[in-house]
């Protein structure tokens, strides 16, 4: 069991972005999260990643309570959003070395091959502030690869990427699926969503409208 959520709710001030979400996602499943703008997709993904605390409800990830064991949980998941978690003043290479400095076990070779895979090798020593939005997304992907997660949460993973980038993203997702990584992905590109995922969750106004089992 990868995710067990019971009646998750989250509000920002007086606005409730999530109004009671209960769901169960098995290990190795890939889930397509669809919904209109403002339906609560990003909030749900952030809550499921433990980046954001729910206002109400309980969440268990990998059988651990998210409220108390978030340190262990976070070692096993990765979150991709349009915020790429990068330091502008540092170079692409330094941003990845940072993971190592903070204790992620990681060899130089892995680091180089991750940079090569997202096709940023020749820009490795440029500061991120000079990067385009698509390049930042690529670097974010490299970061996710190095984290070796068991659960990935992808918020609009195809946004801002060029044709090659979209293809790379698809490759990575397929690769993860084959390795049994649990995937939850929100996208407005329904064709890709249905093609890549086994299951669908439909979010509307902060509640689950429908789901295919």
């Amino acid at each position: 069991m990868s995710i067990q959520a019971h009646h998750l709710a989250r509000r920002y001030g007086r606005h409730w972005a999530l109004r009671g979400i209960s769901l169960t996602i098995q290990r190795g499943e890939s889930v397509f999260l669809r919904g209109a703008n403002g339906a609560g997709k990003t909030t749900l993904l952030r809550v499921l990643s433990t980046a954001l605390q729910p206002s109400q409800g309980t969440l268990c990830l990998f059988g651990l309570d998210a409220q108390t064991h978030y340190h262990e949980i976070r070692q096993r998941l990765a979150l991709i959003t349009h915020h790429t978690h990068l330091y502008e003043a540092l170079t692409a290479h330094e941003n990845l070395v940072l993971l190592k400095n903070y204790g992620l076990i990681l060899s130089t070779q892995e680091l180089q091959s991750a940079l090569a895979r997202v096709n940023l090798k020749k820009h490795a020593h440029r500061p991120v502030s000079e990067f385009s939005a698509g390049m930042r997304r690529r670097l974010g992907l490299a970061r996710m690869l190095l984290q070796k997660p068991e659960l990935v949460l992808l918020d609009e993973p195809f946004g801002q990427l060029d044709v090659d980038g979209v293809q790379l993203q698809e490759e990575i997702i397929t690769d993860f699926k084959q390795r049994g990584v649990t995937i939850i992905m929100s996208t407005h590109d329904h064709d890709r969503g249905y093609a890549l995922c086994d299951r669908e969750l439909w979010l509307d106004g902060g509640i689950l409208r429908g789901a295919t089992p």
């Binding site: 509000r11 920002y12 001030g13 007086r14 409730w16 206002s55 509307d204 902060g206």
Partner: protein
């Protein structure tokens, strides 16, 4: 139950305030050195106690919130900081009104005064922070942290101002305590204590109502 408690607190508080004022203004004898001015003490000193009590309540509630995450503790912290600020303002005003005729100045850098003034601004900042955060979880947690940080500052401010002040002037507050003057002071202390309890309760109820209202909105109205 709560109704009777509220009513009881209100009656005791207002009754004691009235009694304390009458006693302080007319029954207590004038003081040998300061004449009638010292009567300000009967509202001034209880304000100080009430303010300190309120701030201590805020600290305790903040710590409880950080451990338990119960929104009730957050409401108590918010309410007592606000009530404490009101008593703190009274403390500064009455202190100034006392200082002018006795020391000849509206303001002096006495450790007591300075500490009270700094605490006023610190808790004003605390309430401003409360008003500036929309997200309720974030507001509760951050304000609990700030409540602890500010309270930790009170003794440090006190000692540093005392040290700082001891160099250029020594200003002692009158500590004359005739038995005839102790009674109104005691009445005043209890009056402010009950006023504090009633006010905090009212503020907590108001905050709880607002919080419940926000939660009710979750189920209200069908989203599209």
């Amino acid at each position: 139950m709560g109704r009777f408690l509220d009513l009881g607190l209100f009656i005791i508080a207002s009754g004691l305030l009235l009694l304390g004022s009458i006693w302080g203004l007319w029954i207590a004898p004038p003081e040998a050195m300061m004449g009638d001015v010292y009567r300000i003490m009967f509202v001034h000193v209880p304000s100080a106690w009430a303010a300190l009590m309120a701030y201590t309540t805020c600290l305790v509630a903040s710590v409880i919130y950080l451990f338990s995450g119960k929104s009730g503790a957050d409401h108590v912290a918010a309410a007592s900081a606000e009530v404490g600020l009101v008593f703190n303002a009274l403390l500064l005003i009455t202190g100034s009104l006392w200082g002018r005729p006795t020391w000849g100045v509206w303001w002096t850098w006495d450790p007591r005064l300075t500490t009270a003034a700094i605490m006023f601004f610190a808790y004003a900042g605390y309430l401003a922070l409360r008003g500036a955060i929309d997200d309720d979880r974030r507001r509760s947690t951050w304000c609990a942290v700030v409540g602890i940080i500010i309270y930790a500052d009170i003794p440090i401010v006190w000692f540093s101002v005392k040290m700082w002040n001891s160099l250029h002037q020594l200003q002692s507050s009158p500590k004359t305590m005739d038995p005839a003057m102790v009674t109104p002071l005691r009445i005043g202390a209890f009056a402010f204590l009950f006023a504090f309890l009633w006010l905090v309760r009212r503020r907590v109820v108001a905050l709880r109502l607002r919080a419940q209202n926000d939660i009710l909105m979750m189920n209200e109205g069908d989203p599209r």
